[in-house]
Symmetry: D3
Subunit: 129 residues, 6 copies
Amino acid sequence: MTERFRRGVARQQELGGAGPRRRAYDALADVAPDLSRLAVEFAYGDIHSRPGLDAAQRELVILGALITTGGVEPQLEAHIGSALAAGLAPRAVVEAIMQAIPYAGFPRVFAAMAIARRVFDDRNLLPLQ
Amino acid sequence: MTERFRRGVARQQELGGAGPRRRAYDALADVAPDLSRLAVEFAYGDIHSRPGLDAAQRELVILGALITTGGVEPQLEAHIGSALAAGLAPRAVVEAIMQAIPYAGFPRVFAAMAIARRVFDDRNLLPLQ
Amino acid sequence: MTERFRRGVARQQELGGAGPRRRAYDALADVAPDLSRLAVEFAYGDIHSRPGLDAAQRELVILGALITTGGVEPQLEAHIGSALAAGLAPRAVVEAIMQAIPYAGFPRVFAAMAIARRVFDDRNLLPLQ
Amino acid sequence: MTERFRRGVARQQELGGAGPRRRAYDALADVAPDLSRLAVEFAYGDIHSRPGLDAAQRELVILGALITTGGVEPQLEAHIGSALAAGLAPRAVVEAIMQAIPYAGFPRVFAAMAIARRVFDDRNLLPLQ
Amino acid sequence: MTERFRRGVARQQELGGAGPRRRAYDALADVAPDLSRLAVEFAYGDIHSRPGLDAAQRELVILGALITTGGVEPQLEAHIGSALAAGLAPRAVVEAIMQAIPYAGFPRVFAAMAIARRVFDDRNLLPLQ
Amino acid sequence: MTERFRRGVARQQELGGAGPRRRAYDALADVAPDLSRLAVEFAYGDIHSRPGLDAAQRELVILGALITTGGVEPQLEAHIGSALAAGLAPRAVVEAIMQAIPYAGFPRVFAAMAIARRVFDDRNLLPLQ
């Protein structure tokens, strides 16, 4: 277990735990065990834990990227949870998704907002304050 | 001139002025005069000036979206400038672009970083502190 | 209620009513009530109701955009319905989807055609004349 | 020379000739001679010349697809020319591009509109009537 | 039935039969009967059966393209099967998907790997050797 | 200098040297020095040098991914060079690009083929054998 992996796991813990990522990781453990290790080491240990931006700021960039990519529901669900864990209020997450409209278009934003609503509902955050 | 347009222009002023947007707007004025008006009214007057996230947070979402979209150099240039005007340090902008690697891939990030470098150079911000 | 909203609602009525859009709008009403309002005002009140192209011509552009975007099933379903309401025959809708093959590739077109088939089936339009 | 190729060439003639396509075809003739042949046979001979939609309607779908794809300037230039040749007025082409805003986002539309302006300028169509 | 169609069907046979493609073809037969014919003729008869690369090499390119496109599950499922039929071991398919990470990003790769796992499971190839 | 970096550099050497990558790396050294290090460590040290596929097979996947992404000319140029260094003949590279047509569409393929032609020309490989 590398230092990068340890750092990545620690970062994921700060973001509320592996959560839905864990399910994706476990589901592929017998086929591509290195995939989840590389995701933890690289995406969290090398990138997300860098200095210069805090976790909430990083999640805003990630939300912009994932909304625009489209069709990546598990990651969007995970990162909406991470955004909340990083201290963004649910309404701030809603605003982040709204902010993507002029760039990614309405269809991508409707899809992302439906996922956000589901995350909020799962966490008993509805109705929003 | 609508209230939404006035609000959009005011927001653009806070973000350092229309700057490179102005060039794009003027270049299309004789073909699609409504395009720049709609961009100001909708993207800035309706969306960017909403409460719930500050300007710097909104620019982080936009950077994530534009890096991922790819091939939108004038907008990326304009929004790197807006990110600086909204109070993000050049190093924070670099970090925002780095954060996109695991989601948008290296090629999109190299392209975006080259644009950021050019914006920094134009503003005599190199070498970075 | 703005004039833009009224114009947007009127345009949606001409296109057969909000239909599947309504479901998406209602599902997000407690999380992002402004999202559906902005979609009606901007996408329909500002853009779709502009002069210079009729509703059927606008739906052809939208079909090209949505097929290419991919992964936006609810919008594709809604706009296939709008295309029919705007006077395009089912076979013209099929042809519009076929026309995207050389640009968006076969996989996006197969996905779009499967949605079109479902819309036709829901409206008892099968077998096609 | 197949019947499909002949049909494709005839269709391209109706659309104002191969024009900018010809430059792309010739530039690759010594590396991938089959590429332009397949484009003529398939995109024009098999698809564009199908019954059920007229040439102008097909160009509207193609514009929606190309604007959304992004980064395909030579094709967008060629198809804006084809749209004019198929009988769409310059203002109708402008409207087609405007119609993509809510789906493909502003950046893609600004890029497409700049190309349209250049095509209009090359053909002495400015200022638009 | 054209020579191109015959060649395309033969190529699909070498790749393990139409398999999941057949379901997509049949499902659309009453709406767009030409779509599956064109896919066989063009994608398999014109392109896949060209000399200069063997079938396994072609499937590697297709995997790279489909992973990056995203949201094209039926085609990815079909081509993972074709890759196996063309002689790539399951572990080579896993490696091909891993190779896309730096370019298409982790989310697209997780989605593709989940489909690969399902194909392997359906064929009793788990646990991988 | 990590073992992963050393492994990455070694892999790049096998692929003909950093070449055009070097220019991109150097150009960003004063702004984002970690970006090129991470690219070498992760894309080459962690991924490209994995067992299970040889370098030429990996370049075929990468070509499929980059052609589909679009707008990533420097990377496409670099990887066409890598494909040649990995033992693929120029005609095999042409075929790999042709193979993307049914999935990524003609416009992306025309753009990629023009880049391939330039790489071949720079290396005095024209006319192709």
